[in-house]
């Protein structure tokens, strides 16, 4: 080794000047300690590890406990909710001393009538005439049925059934208008859905029926029935009855109490007689529709005392009514009668009305729940069916021989082809989007020859021969394309159309104004010509055959 091996003094001092220590990062110390702990070389301190380990079970326990509490509360709520719902039903049943089935039947009948009323309303209110109904009857006056035909006897089931005045309603505006207006008094439906067994009623009506059920008391009050099956004693006072309906403007009626039928009227203007019941006290006294009632027993009806007296009449009481007819005032003495025997329906309606609104809601909710559960069950069943079918199919396929499997596949392909073909057909039916091809001018169809010139002729189309293409073009968007049996069905029109295949041979197409039922039936051979008919020259040869044209 040469002297160059040794370090020079400079070099040596440089090496010695190098730092000997380096401050480690604080994180390194923690890292080392943690590594030692992981290896068990240092104990894990209680302060750091234990709380975490002990906190976790507590946390889990707390979460589990709160969950259990929630679930328990929920279950309890469900239980008591169901019970109170049942109680509501029961009390309703017991209160009216009728079976639940009876109530249901009546309610359903009321619902049907209600639907009819709404249908009528629908027609009437097309003109935008959504007037409200005046309060008639109630209080001292018996609610009338079929008011709109004065003198008529109980015209039940009319579209214009009046509602019993609601206690909760404040001032009501009465207008005597066309029959449809009366149905405008329908309560807004509260958005509840009830199950209904009326299959014939389409879905869109369902909720209206529900509304009818919920409002059964109000609806049934005005319902006529021909089966008066005797009296029942009711808890509330027997109301007085004058046998007339009045119409008033800016008037209100407040019931005296929950069970009382009497109450207090407030008239801001003298009411007028709207209708008179046959054989009622009013008719016997000579009152007529159109008379204006001014005072009762000398007290103006517009006064507070007069309104109270008018609402508090009782059977057997004699009252003097002052009315105005053709500008002249007359006094007439009336003997207040008892309200004629009510029908079962009316009694039940009265009873049902006694149920508080909360109870009715409870009832609806319970039924709703039942319906939802049923729907869920149905869905599950359908799913199971589907799975079972698939399974079956797979098993079937696996059992088949190769040739059979091929055949099955071919069948399936054919089905697909057929589906594709019908789809293409439906697609081509959209040809109205493009201008229709120029039709060959045929002398047989002069009307249709002009059709392409006008893009959309007004409905209805002129009668006469019309080609399918022309029709398609004229009637607008395709709404439905399908088949009933082997018959192709196409539905077009500007309005929304809903269709339902009831069975393979029955399809119902419903639009706003019209509902069409298409039913495929096997064609029966026409009857043989009767012998009585004058026989054709060739007749005797083929008597049993259908006549040929």
């Amino acid at each position: 080794m040469t002297d160059r091996d040794e370090l020079t003094r400079e070099e040596r001092s440089a090496f010695e000047a190098l730092p000997r220590e380096r401050a480690p990062d604080a994180a390194l110390e923690e890292r080392v300690v943690a590594a030692l702990r992981r290896r068990g070389l240092l104990p894990i301190p209680l302060a750091a590890g234990a709380p975490r380990r002990r906190l976790l079970p507590w946390l889990v326990g707390a979460v589990a406990a709160s969950l259990a509490l929630f679930a328990g509360g929920f279950a309890a709520g469900q239980y008591f909710g169901a019970r109170s719902g049942a109680a509501a039903v029961l009390s309703g049943v017991q209160a009216s001393h009728a079976s639940a089935a009876e109530i249901a039947a009546h309610a359903e009948r009321a619902g049907a009538l209600y639907v009819a009323a709404l249908a009528a309303l629908n027609q009437v209110s097309d003109s935008g005439n959504a007037a409200r109904c005046g309060h008639r009857g109630g209080g001292g006056l018996a609610p009338r049925r079929g008011d709109l035909r004065p003198g008529g006897r109980r015209l039940g089931g009319r579209a214009d059934r009046p509602r019993r005045p609601s206690r909760r309603r404040g001032a009501a505006r009465a207008q005597r208008q066309d029959p449809g207006a009366a149905a405008g008094a329908v309560h807004p439906v509260r958005g509840v859905v009830l199950t209904t067994r009326r299959r014939t009623v389409s879905r869109s009506w369902t909720w209206i029926i529900v509304g009818a059920l919920a409002l059964a008391p109000a609806v049934a009050a005005g319902q006529n029935d021909s089966t008066e099956t005797g009296r029942r004693s009711y808890a509330f006072d027997a109301p007085g009855w004058l046998g007339m309906g009045v119409a008033c403007s800016h008037c209100s009626f407040q019931r005296a109490g929950r069970r009382a039928s009497g109450g207090r009227w407030t008239f801001s203007a003298p009411p007028s007689v709207f209708s008179v019941d046959a054989d009622g006290p009013a008719e016997q006294a000579g009152l007529r529709a159109g008379d204006t009632l001014v005072a009762i027993d000398g007290t103006p009806l517009t006064s507070q005392a007069g309104g109270a007296a008018f609402g508090a009449i009782r059977p057997g009481q004699e009252v003097t009514i002052r009315y105005r007819r053709e500008g002249r005032e007359h006094d007439v003495r009336l003997r207040v009668a008892a309200r004629p025997a009510r029908s079962e329906t009316y009694a039940m309606a009265e009873r049902l009305r006694e149920l508080s609104e909360e109870r009715a809601r409870e009832l609806v909710r319970v039924q709703h729940q039942v319906q939802r559960t049923q729907a869920e069950l149905e869905r599950q069943r359908a799913y199971m069916d589907q799975v079972a079918q698939k399974l079956e199919q797979a098993q079937l396929l696996s059992r088949l021989s190769d040739s059979a499997r091929l055949k099955a596949t071919q069948q399936y392909m054919m089905q697909l082809d057929s589906a594709a073909a019908s789809w293409r057909r439906a697609e081509s039916a959209y040809s109205y989007l493009t201008p229709p091809p120029a039709l060959p001018a045929t002398p047989a169809a002069p009307a249709t020859a002009a059709a392409p010139a006008t893009p959309l002729p007004p409905r209805p189309l002129p009668m006469g021969p019309i080609s399918p293409n022309d029709w398609r073009h004229a009637m607008g968007p395709l709404r439905y394309a399908g088949r009933v049996g082997d018959v192709l069905v196409e539905v077009r029109g500007p309005a929304e159309v809903s269709t339902s295949n009831v069975t393979d041979s029955v399809t119902v197409i419903t639009s706003r104004d019209v509902s069409v039922l298409l039913e495929l039936r096997p064609v029966r051979p026409p009857r043989p010509a009767r012998p009585a008919r004058p026989a054709t020259p060739a007749g005797p040869a083929t008597p049993a055959r259908p006549p040929k044209d």
Binding site: D5, E10, R12, P24, L36, L41, P43
Partner: protein, 189 residues
């Protein structure tokens, strides 16, 4: 070191602290750690060639092994020496592991160019030159010229003969002089 917290702890010999570490005393370990780690880290940093992360890994590995073998330590040497021996092995292991992918050792017969000794050496340049050395040269140079170990001690630690370390030191010095040559300065990575 905070004198107010444990003035007696700082004065305690390594052996007492080690005994307490064996008994599971974390505070004793931290004290021991703080006493020896700065020097250990510096050596490790030089041995691995200036990579901080590698150096920290070496320190951690060293302490783990030290605590693991603490009960087998017979206290014939100083704790620091023993610790540094462990650190040396850990560093060599780290370099070996890393070196497979990053460094190509100079061939023994590939003589680096000799350069005139410099008049003045900047510490930063020297550190960079040391870091740029091949791992084997660097180890011997650091242990001999920086840490002041004898060739015998180094040979024992590395499991080679003293002749080998002397030879390596010779080549290491030549290499470092070449690296510190002004013209080559920029070549230092």
């Amino acid at each position: 070191v905070s004198a107010g917290v444990a003035p007696d702890l700082a004065a305690q010999p390594d052996r007492e602290l080690a005994a307490r570490v064996l008994a599971g005393d974390e505070i004793a370990f931290r004290d021991l750690y703080r006493r020896h780690t700065p020097r250990l880290l510096q050596v490790a940093l030089r041995l691995v060639g200036g990579d901080e992360a590698d150096a920290e890994d070496v320190v951690q590995e060293t302490w783990i092994k030290a605590v693991e073998r603490l009960d087998a330590f017979r206290w014939e040497a100083a704790f620091g020496t023993w610790l540094h021996a462990i650190g040396l092995n850990a560093a060599r292991e780290a370099v070996r592991r890393r070196g497979r992918r990053r460094e190509v050792a100079w061939a023994e017969d590939d003589e680096p160019p000799a350069a005139a000794p410099r008049e003045r050496l900047e510490a930063v340049d020297l550190e960079r030159a040391i870091a740029a050395l091949p791992a084997g040269y660097r180890t011997v140079l650091v242990l001999h010229d920086v840490e002041g170990y004898t060739h015998e001690a180094i040979a024992e630690r590395l499991g080679v003969t003293p002749g080998t370390t002397k030879s390596q030191l010779f080549w290491a010095r030549r290499a470092i002089r070449a690296l510190l040559e002004p013209g080559r300065k920029d070549g230092i990575p």
